[in-house]
Subunit: 129 residues, 8 copies
Amino acid sequence: MVDISVLMGSESDHAIANRVTKVLEETKYSFEVNVISAHRDPDKLEDHIAGSDAKVYIAIAGLSAALPGVIASKTMKPVIGVPVSAKLGGLDALLSVVQMPPGVPVASVGIDNGANAAKLAIRILDLIE
Amino acid sequence: MVDISVLMGSESDHAIANRVTKVLEETKYSFEVNVISAHRDPDKLEDHIAGSDAKVYIAIAGLSAALPGVIASKTMKPVIGVPVSAKLGGLDALLSVVQMPPGVPVASVGIDNGANAAKLAIRILDLIE
Amino acid sequence: MVDISVLMGSESDHAIANRVTKVLEETKYSFEVNVISAHRDPDKLEDHIAGSDAKVYIAIAGLSAALPGVIASKTMKPVIGVPVSAKLGGLDALLSVVQMPPGVPVASVGIDNGANAAKLAIRILDLIE
Amino acid sequence: MVDISVLMGSESDHAIANRVTKVLEETKYSFEVNVISAHRDPDKLEDHIAGSDAKVYIAIAGLSAALPGVIASKTMKPVIGVPVSAKLGGLDALLSVVQMPPGVPVASVGIDNGANAAKLAIRILDLIE
Amino acid sequence: MVDISVLMGSESDHAIANRVTKVLEETKYSFEVNVISAHRDPDKLEDHIAGSDAKVYIAIAGLSAALPGVIASKTMKPVIGVPVSAKLGGLDALLSVVQMPPGVPVASVGIDNGANAAKLAIRILDLIE
Amino acid sequence: MVDISVLMGSESDHAIANRVTKVLEETKYSFEVNVISAHRDPDKLEDHIAGSDAKVYIAIAGLSAALPGVIASKTMKPVIGVPVSAKLGGLDALLSVVQMPPGVPVASVGIDNGANAAKLAIRILDLIE
Amino acid sequence: MVDISVLMGSESDHAIANRVTKVLEETKYSFEVNVISAHRDPDKLEDHIAGSDAKVYIAIAGLSAALPGVIASKTMKPVIGVPVSAKLGGLDALLSVVQMPPGVPVASVGIDNGANAAKLAIRILDLIE
Amino acid sequence: MVDISVLMGSESDHAIANRVTKVLEETKYSFEVNVISAHRDPDKLEDHIAGSDAKVYIAIAGLSAALPGVIASKTMKPVIGVPVSAKLGGLDALLSVVQMPPGVPVASVGIDNGANAAKLAIRILDLIE
């Protein structure tokens, strides 16, 4: 059982993931961290989501950052997206994360802003008490 | 008692607000809709938040879209921001909504995407059952 | 048996799809056209790709245009992406289509440029003779 | 009594604030410098403005730079905004500072341009003599 | 004698100038409105500024909007710039108005936002009482 | 006889070309690498294409990256373009590569993404077996 | 014998070409106007330039606007480029025209600004008297 | 007597000016180099232009790069503008240089591309022989 599933699209996203976990470690909520690319490991990602009981997802990705949107299409839980700056200052990732089509929502935080992704997850989980 | 407080920064944001309420009307969740500008009615906004028992906020604003961030600084509930395209295709509003400083998270959805704001609120509220 | 599978993410992409098929109709190559959203119908998309013998894919999508990338992650055939202008003049779709992570290539053509997607598919198929 | 109140949204804005004060120190005008985040310390900001007799405000902020706009909503004095480059070369901060809704004006200077904020404040104060 | 000199770079800027004067007409401050291009009538502009006793300038211009900056280089009074959207949604004009070099400040308001230029001028003039 | 012709517009593009060849070296496909500027050596480029039996072209270029498009206008083979980041984060090169007029298609991959250009060429060549 | 050769990349650029010729018609300079695409008619373009005695070229093109740069690579005469707004407000064409590699200069005027291309050509030709 | 007048807006533009002069030194054309800010030294600039017999101007400037346009408004000689990257990758300077209003043409070269400014000046001067 885990409250928050933190997923990143690439090993190179660890620095941003650390900003997420640094905040989460100060809370009562449990979390797990995994590296699964939406583009390179689509089946592994699908299995992970199907087998997870996480209440909230935090998905970290750069470039054409499909990870948050793909997760949001496989679960009905809230998905928080963190766009990572790899090219163009992260504008590519931001637009890929936030400009989702109607029907599949992703909650985008700011570029590289792992801390706010964690804070947002906490606000959501605090509602459940 | 209301589940979702929908706020817009200007009367001109009604078209986007309607996309929010059209989705929410199909659900069991209660909501209220108000027009309060973060910049022109800061006190009214503060009173509204202080007196509200909403579990989730949806804040709709264009241009320098401060409304979602200001709400997020006044409540510990999740705040969903909807950037509205008024100038520059909505890029100004998107960046104002999403690029929040660490510590005060806003969950941004896409430009003019009121439907997804509602869908995201529903995913969050569905966690509480 | 079909040479080219043309997929679009939304019914609203039909105008751009027509530019593709208008060119393809003048050739000897066979094609089929389907509407399947990567975000809203991920399973249907997976089944479609698994059951297709298309040699080349043309994927048309706007906003956070994940469709070309998701297809490219499910097949080893060439995938041509057509970004559609829905918001921000199509910059969001262009960056989502073209900025793929290393390992999962998508061949992007210009914004709304269905004709060039068809022309590119023809150049690829002409190699096989 | 102070002529100019210089406010910055974060400790990380000190380098830009120093460009402001370096210019002001060469003048006859008095000033004070404080760090108050519009998003993290809204009440402290309100108290500060209510208790200040400053004639001009200079507000320095990055990212979703709400500080100048929030100040302008709490006072009728001129407010000069300095967008700081933290992400996207400062484009996010520039648009957040300058694209204010009608009714609540902010005078934006260029990205990181603390010197011009001071020069503009001096031009304004010189009118009073 | 005039309190505010409103200048626009081109006859095509009249719609935005009207937003300025509509606000100013409700005040006690006097103003005059002229069309002088910084690029096409540099001498006329210089004469106008040299002969004016305006306390504040409002300069309205599109494209490579040099008018506010040129005025600011010819007077020591505060100059408010209004970027007008003619191409690129007004991004060209905004950057031309706001990104002034250190030493020659211009107070930029938002794209096409003549109302805020007037409101800012009023805040400045109200200091003099 | 060569399967893939890798062309770059400038000696400064070698780092990106190396990402292409590093992937191609792991395959059965033959390739050659040349530096020919579309703008500075147009005749040499034309001769090279006329004398080549390459099945696929990979063209690497920065700034106003005309190389892929010029090649595509001289051959009926598929041309893959790799925009290189030299200025503006590579946005100039990306738009120059991808925004081709109808009739002359270029397959653009992401900024600096030589690896994906190679992967895309492999997918195309694998069709021929 | 002709002073100025006006070339456009597509029939759709005629509206901008008309702005060029409207200015040139008021002068003593001779000019001719042709439609030749750099991408679709490269040989025709080369022949045209080789057979022309024009002193100045004005090249009008949209999207990935290669026309001015290709002309500049085939002649040692001054080449003026006019970027045309077809997509993205003309930003793609502007960057394609202006961001030429060192060694092959193009003189870019503003987006859709055929009048200034003509005015610039006149300034250049007036030097010869 | 001088063929080319090279002007830069700030001492910080010397690196780009050196790229201009390095090319010009290899030619028969005479040139002089001066630092005069359009915004900070408007009168000095006017005197310089009035007293110059230069046939071509090269104007180098960053940020809100008014220098080329102001020169073009004071002379009927061709003016070449070189936008310098100081903020936003030089996009601000590029747009300020190139987006001139109809009637006052500036010939823009690429960002920081002093070499091409010199090459363009040479092409223009070569016409006079």
